[in-house]
Amino acid sequence: MGRIAYILPVAVFVVVSLFFLRGLQLDPKHIPSVLIDKPIPELNLPPLPGRDEVGLRTADIKGQVSLVNIFGSWCVACVAEHPMLLKIRKTGIVPIHGIDWRDDPAKGAAWLRKNGDPYDRVGADPDSHAAIDFGVTGAPETFVVDREGHIRYKHVGPITEEIWEDTLLPMIKELSR
């Protein structure tokens, strides 16, 4: 018994270190949405004033592979992400729908006029009803939705060139086949 007691600390440490080694390869910020492979929540969001009259409904998102992007005029990271969204819009590969989250709809509309409007449909969600159903953790956040209206992927944070090229674009191509 005696000897083992002295070896035990280093043995425990070896096990913990192995976990650390593994931990370095994992990204704790990557949180899978519980809604992955589930149908998108029922939506009926009002439009942004002055943009259009349609808003955003569940039916708008179904039918083809699309992106649902959570943004807000208060969100600094969204400004950083915006040029990328405009670029994606230009390629015409995939429609982008926006949810203007926790925002004054008038401000959201003004923000889009100022920064450019990459969205097909935009719904206002000032009271977080849709955001809670989507399990949104922050803005910006982007969901990939397939033809049947199932959420297939969730990206937290701004979409960068790499994320678009390496993750989203291949997935959209795969889903569109």
């Binding site: 440490f13 070896v14 270190s17 976990f19 650390f20 931990g23 370095l24 990204d27 704790p28 600094v76």
Partner: protein, 664 residues
Amino acid sequence: MIVELGHFALILAVFVALVQATVPLIGAQRGNQAWTNMAGAAATAQFLCIGVAFAALTYAYVVSDFSVLNVATNSHTAKPMLYKVSGVWGNHEGSLLLWITILAVFGMAVGVFGRNLPPALRARVLSVQAMITVGFLLFILFTSNPFERLDPAPADGSGLNPLLQDPGLAFHPPFLYLGYVGFSMAFSFAVAALIEGRVDAAWARWVRPWTLAAWVFLTCGIALGSWWAYYELGWGGWWYWDPVENASFMPWLAGTALLHSAVVVEKRDALKSWTILLAIITFSLSLLGTFLVRSGVLTSVHSFAADPTRGVFILALLIACTGGSLTLYAVRAPALKGGGLFAPVSREGGLVLNNLLMSTAAGTVLLGTLYPLFADALNLGKVSVGPPFFNAVFVPLMVPMVVAMAIGPMLAWKRGDLGGTLARLKLAFAAAAAAAVATWLLVGGDGATVGAVGGIALAAWLLVGTLVEYGERIRLFRAPLGESLRRARHLPRAAYGMTITHAGLAVVIAGITGSEAWKIESVQVMRPGDTVEVAGYDYTLKSVNSFRGPNYSGLRGVFEVTRDGRPVTVLEPERRQYTQPPRPTTEAAIWTNGWADLYAVIADADNRGGYVTRLYHNPLIPWLWIGALTMVVGGLVSLSDRRHRVGAPSRRQVRPAKTLQPAE
């Protein structure tokens, strides 16, 4: 030029450290005096090199030299001087430089104050210390060079995170690091003792002041950080069980255990290998904290430089340091012979119980902190471990701990008399019961307040128990007053330190209990003129004005607080929007009457003339800070004990020699 000088000094420091890590160690092993004695000089040279590097970076910050990448990314010309200086350690590279500067300061301190250490022990300690220095210097130079230049230099820097532009946080990291790094001394002493194969009372007597100093700094650092979180984050909370908070708390728990077990080694020549293990674990937990913060393996509000290559490097350091020392421990510790035997109920027994509970607590916090990582690595899914877990396991561990804290110091060494001691503590029992009843009546007790009533009773028990112990020592009311005063004068400072620190903890416990159990929160939209009542105080929002600060624009709300129509105070919380980087912060307004804090926060405008306001009533929270400060004072008093200064002539030769002299 000065910046290059700093970089060069840092490179030079690596070579000095390499020499210091090897030559004295070999000298001590072979009995070569010249080699052994060069340790002190090397430590001083080490300090000079690293000191020059630190001064160079500070200079670059003070003059805002934006051709230095680190300064450009973390500083800005329009920033008060205090934050230009504190910006030096407000980032990954600079904070590592601070870490290693403190390491060098401690190394030099051993060189200077440790002249009366046995030369071989001093040489080994400084060599081990230098090994740590080498690792961290290489880490800085290869992965996190603070002296990297930027070409072309930008016209202005991108600024320091405004949350960090705060007096409390300017001094939080240095204190925390003084604590973390201070434990490296205990670690170096432990490894040196393992190499030497000898642990005795003299060894413990040298380790104790270093550990105590580190403990004082760490306590101060944690309290400052917690205080900052309380008034700056604007949520009225002061502890969130965040991985990084836990990272500072675990070494504190282990270090507290180490302090107490070192007493047993010194006085009774027992618990030797356990104390060595604790010294290793305490510093390892400090290193682990660094790893968790820097590597990004866990998410935290603090993680400021998540970089996998850095993570790999620190992990390698951790493995070399902890793995190496624990292996050495496995090989050498069985040979360490324990000395004094003792019965379970005895002063030693009390200290062992303290050690068991403290290290279990540290282990529990470690498990809770790392569990998300374990679960993720084993594909058990993403989990987060929050306050409910920590509160559920921590409280049951601390309750017996606090109960025993009043009893332990009153037990005799070797064999104590539990029944007799409990009888002598009847005043503490009475105080606890009275406090419980008074609390129950005061808050209109029901089932939900049982825990809080228990917490207050526990605080009263510990406070009065500690005072009873002090009273017994000076034979208060048992001997004539003159005799008691004479005894009080001659009581060692270390004894006063214990009394003050334990009493401080009692006050902290009351503060924690009060702030957890009776905090009242009120969140609403208010327009100027509106009045909201919280805990009997009426808060009237008089006006909201915008104003400009040196590097921010702000909104200031003016609340007039009245109670039963009589004016109490005016609270002026602010919401600031910093210009560089553009980030908002809240500045809570706090007024305290010693029993409770009135706490007001103003948040966003709702664009219809109203503002979101958060008002909190935080009972007993001032006690938390008073108690923490008292604990720090207690530690300082104990540190000033002459007996800690090895070699200082003992003033009281009449005292039984066996408790003072090292038992060889």
